[in-house]
């Protein structure tokens, strides 16, 4: 895009949602929720994150942008990590309770234990540098190296190395 075109980026005054945006939403919503859910481990919070991510995109980017999907994935990861960190700041009890709601098992004792474990893992994730945490979240949400590179603005050839470092850092955080 040329400079003059950039400066002419406009907002539409028309009512209703553009069909292209609705198509984008239908195509990507489930994946955006899944990425957020991988981080916050709470389905309701994940859907809230996804809503904010789509609103943010709707406000700032055209629906037919070729970078729409990677933008949404990256924003889902970063916004969810922000939610996770806020939760951690509020204290361990809040963090466990949020995850407890999401833990579907008939045995209350087992549910509590699972929630506790998931909470500790996510506390470790929250302590990682943002890029490392986002790398892990996107990779373990099933994104390819190519998709992760696009989402995080990195070279595809460096993803493997960065991912291994992030995994090592994550293991260290979990065990401390």
């Amino acid at each position: 895009m040329e400079v003059a075109d950039r400066l002419r980026l406009t907002t539409s005054p028309g009512p209703g949602m553009p069909p292209a945006f609705e198509a984008l939403f239908r195509k990507e919503y489930a994946r955006v929720v899944a990425i957020a859910h991988r981080v916050v481990a709470d389905a309701d919070e994940a859907e809230d994150v996804a809503q904010d991510v789509f609103v943010s995109f709707y406000r700032k980017h055209p629906a037919d942008a070729h970078y729409a999907a990677p933008w949404l994935y990256a924003a889902a990861a970063h916004n969810a990590l922000n939610v996770l960190r806020s939760r951690e700041r509020r204290g361990k009890r809040d963090a466990v309770e949020a995850i407890r709601r999401d833990t579907q098992t008939p045995d209350p004792a087992q549910a509590a234990e699972t929630a506790e474990t998931r909470s500790e893992v996510r506390a470790a994730l929250a302590r990682l540098p943002d890029r490392s945490a986002a790398l892990l979240v996107l990779r373990y949400s099933g994104l390819s190296y190519e998709e992760i590179a696009a989402a995080l603005g990195l070279r595809q050839s460096s993803i493997g190395t960065l991912l291994r470092r992030a995994e090592d850092a994550f293991r260290r955080e979990v065990t401390t």
Binding site: V3, L9, A46, R59, H66, Y67, T103, Q104, A150
Partner: protein, 334 residues
């Protein structure tokens, strides 16, 4: 299953996409959020470009801000706003969407239309803008070469109209306070620019594409933007400012919090408020080029910007870079 996959495992959430879309639609309509469209995608809808919107927004803020200190003395032409410093004003989605746009209060007439255009090199940018164009002394790894654009000096006249305000409010089923008679028909003369914008794309991509693979989240956005321009100046043909102040700050959609923040600006006639959308970005004061500036971080964690004013020019550096990188670029401008 690897140990990390096991640790990060969750129960797959059940998603009702149509219900979620309905929820989003309700929010967008309820908060009157407008979608962004590319200029080329819907040419019949292009009416106001971002420069116009920026100028209008600056003029709106200038209006509200300057009303705080200028006394009601009406002179033939009074410079009521000439910014010499910047201040961050946090705004919310409600503030953004609840307030009427500047156009609802009257008519904006361009005497010199904004016409952004590309120039081949920095020399042309400097010649056309009449400014010394600063360049970064060093660039972060991965930033390519610059392309330049120039925005000409633009001037416009804004004429307040009680009738138009009334109609705009009625269309939105709102009841604003009546416009005082001496505001109705009064004029503001607004000058903005010139400005120069340098776009640096990712060094590994072909010209015009950005991002390591050509599709980063901020692709379509350059890797780095360096902008500089003359700040907007607003003059008045003698509107009574106290009335304008109380009138504008009493409008529906301007939250008490926003009004209080604007009132708190110590020297509004020389302070350019920089709106910071608190749900999308965070801001803090920083020192850049030896003066106070405002650092803004995108809430996605991927974008940063810094804006400052020095020697009568407003500068901005933004990009898909870290805070340290953006500040290093800003401080290296010479």
């Amino acid at each position: 299953m690897s140990d990390i996959e096991d640790m990060l495992s969750v129960t797959e959430p059940k998603v009702d996409t149509e219900r979620a879309l309905a929820r989003l639609r309700a929010r967008v309509e309820g908060e009157r959020i407008a979608p962004v469209m590319r200029g080329g995608a819907a040419p019949h809808r292009i009416g106001v470009n971002i420069w116009v919107r920026g100028l209008a927004a600056a003029a709106t803020v200038a209006l509200v801000a300057t009303l705080l200190t200028v006394s009601g003395v009406a002179e033939t032409i009074l410079t009521i706003f000439e910014p010499k410093q910047l201040v961050a004003v946090p705004i919310t989605v409600t503030d953004l969407n609840g307030a009427a746009s500047f156009g609802a209060y009257g008519t904006l007439t361009w005497t010199e239309q904004p016409k952004p255009y590309d120039v081949p090199d920095i020399r042309t940018a400097a010649r056309d803008s009449g400014m010394t164009v600063l360049v970064p002394g060093n660039l972060p790894t991965g930033v390519g070469t610059a392309r330049y654009g120039v925005m000409n000096k633009t001037t416009a006249t804004f004429t307040f109209s009680a009738d138009k305000t009334q109609k705009a409010a009625a269309a939105q089923q709102r009841t604003p306070p009546p416009m005082p008679a001496n505001i109705d028909g009064s004029k503001l003369f607004i000058t903005g620019g010139p400005a120069v914008v340098a776009y640096y794309d990712d060094g590994t991509s072909p010209a015009g594409a950005t991002g390591a693979s050509g599709a980063s989240p901020f692709a379509g956005m350059p890797k780095l933007i360096v902008a500089q321009g003359k700040p907007p100046v607003v003059q008045s043909d003698g509107v009574t400012v106290e009335q304008l102040q109380s009138y504008l700050l009493a409008q529906p959609g301007i939250s008490p919090q926003l009004a209080a923040q604007i009132r708190a600006i110590k020297d509004p006639s020389s302070t350019l408020p920089v709106p910071i959308p608190v749900d999308m970005a965070t801001s803090k004061k920083v020192t850049v080029q030896g003066v106070e500036g405002i650092f803004v971080g995108d809430s996605t964690g991927l974008g940063s910007a810094v804006i400052w004013q020095k020697d009568g020019i407003v500068y901005g550096v933004a990009g898909t870079l870290t805070e340290q990188q953006v500040l290093a670029v800003a401080n290296s401008l010479h």
